[in-house]
């Protein structure tokens, strides 16, 4: 695998979306390519920041209640 191919697979490697064969080839490449390995780790960190720091709001109870009422008053 060359760097171009590794970059094409990089996001899928971060997200666990590679096939077993792709995963093995990707791992073999980053084991010997410092640039691709660094880029892979940076992408992992970026994903972690987004996952951990973007706040998840709870839907207001008034909205939940209105959705429940909606199913009780609407005929599909």
């Amino acid at each position: 695998m060359n760097c171009k191919k590794a970059q094409a697979l990089l996001s899928a490697a971060v997200d666990g979306e590679l096939s077993l064969k792709e995963q093995q080839e990707f791992e073999a490449h980053i084991a010997k390519c410092a640039d691709c390995q660094r880029e892979f780790r940076e992408a992992q960190k970026t994903k972690n920041i987004i996952r951990e720091k973007i706040v998840r709001f709870k839907a207001p109870q008034s909205l939940v209640n209105s959705i429940i009422r909606l199913t009780e008053t609407t005929t599909g």
Binding site: Q7, A8, L9, L10, S11, A12, V14, D15, E17, Q37, R38, R41, E42, A43, Q44, K45, T46, K47, N48, I49, I50, R51, K53, I54, V55, R56, F57, K58, A59, P60, Q61, S62, L63, V64, S66, I67, I68, L70, T71, E72, T73, T74, T75, G76
Partner: protein, 224 residues
């Protein structure tokens, strides 16, 4: 009750029943049919369970709690009316997200911001309106203050062009698979991969300072 017609985009993109639902009960009747009760229970179990995720997605799209409320309500109204077309055992959350996205496009597209253009006033207004709405929920209140601490991340995410921000939201925040995202954004999986790669690369540049400040190392060491 008047039968609502789905917008063309949803009709085209969402599986619909081959025939109209039978045995409809007039809404004027006080008794609810057994069939309708079963549908209500199934809908609450399958669909209403995802309300927090839908609300967050709507907030990110509209940047306004009132608009997010409306969008979520309209989404559930349509989803309930066409719940028979939902294929049991498939991903209900992805089905709801697609309906919400189509609703959003139909309703707000005209006022959509230009891709890649950051409107910091809009982001500020978003926080203020969240604060105004905080009496609705203690959780929202707590979330508001947390978000203030980390609004650099919000700003970085919102500064991305729409097509990159969207796949990052769906993948990293909502946890959808590439196949589900490809279906939602109506693009091949290869395009989803490439948008995630390029989007994260752009984000990385914007989050360098944040990563250093909050202990996310940007060299080759593991993040904390």
């Amino acid at each position: 009750m008047k039968t609502e017609r789905l917008p063309e985009t949803i009709q085209r993109n969402t599986p619909m029943p081959a025939t109209p639902r039978k045995n409809r009960q007039p809404s004027s009747g006080k008794t609810v049919s057994q069939q309708e009760r079963i549908k209500q229970e199934e809908f609450q179990e399958e669909a209403v369970a995802h309300i927090n995720a839908l609300y967050n997605y709507a907030l990110h799209l509209t940047m306004n709690p009132d608009d997010a409320n409306d969008l979520v309500q309209e989404t559930y109204l349509k989803a309930y009316k066409f719940f028979d077309s939902f294929e049991k055992g498939t991903n209900c959350k992805a089905w709801l997200f697609k309906i919400l996205k189509n609703n959003y496009i139909n309703k707000f597209r005209k006022n959509a911001r230009e891709p890649g253009k950051v409107d910091y006033d809009l982001i500020k207004d978003f926080y203020h309106s969240i604060k105004d709405a905080q009496s609705d929920s203690e959780d929202l209140n707590a979330g508001y203050f947390k978000s203030l601490m980390h609004d650099e991340v919000y700003q970085a995410l919102n500064s991305l062009p729409d097509e990159f921000r969207e796949v990052i939201q769906l993948c990293d925040i909502e946890g959808f698979t590439y196949e589900e995202i490809a279906n939602m954004v109506e693009s091949p999986i290869g395009t989803v991969r490439s948008r995630l790669y390029r989007g994260r690369k752009l984000l990385r540049g914007k989050l360098n300072e944040f990563a250093k400040k909050y202990g996310y190392n940007t060299d080759t060491e593991e993040s904390t």
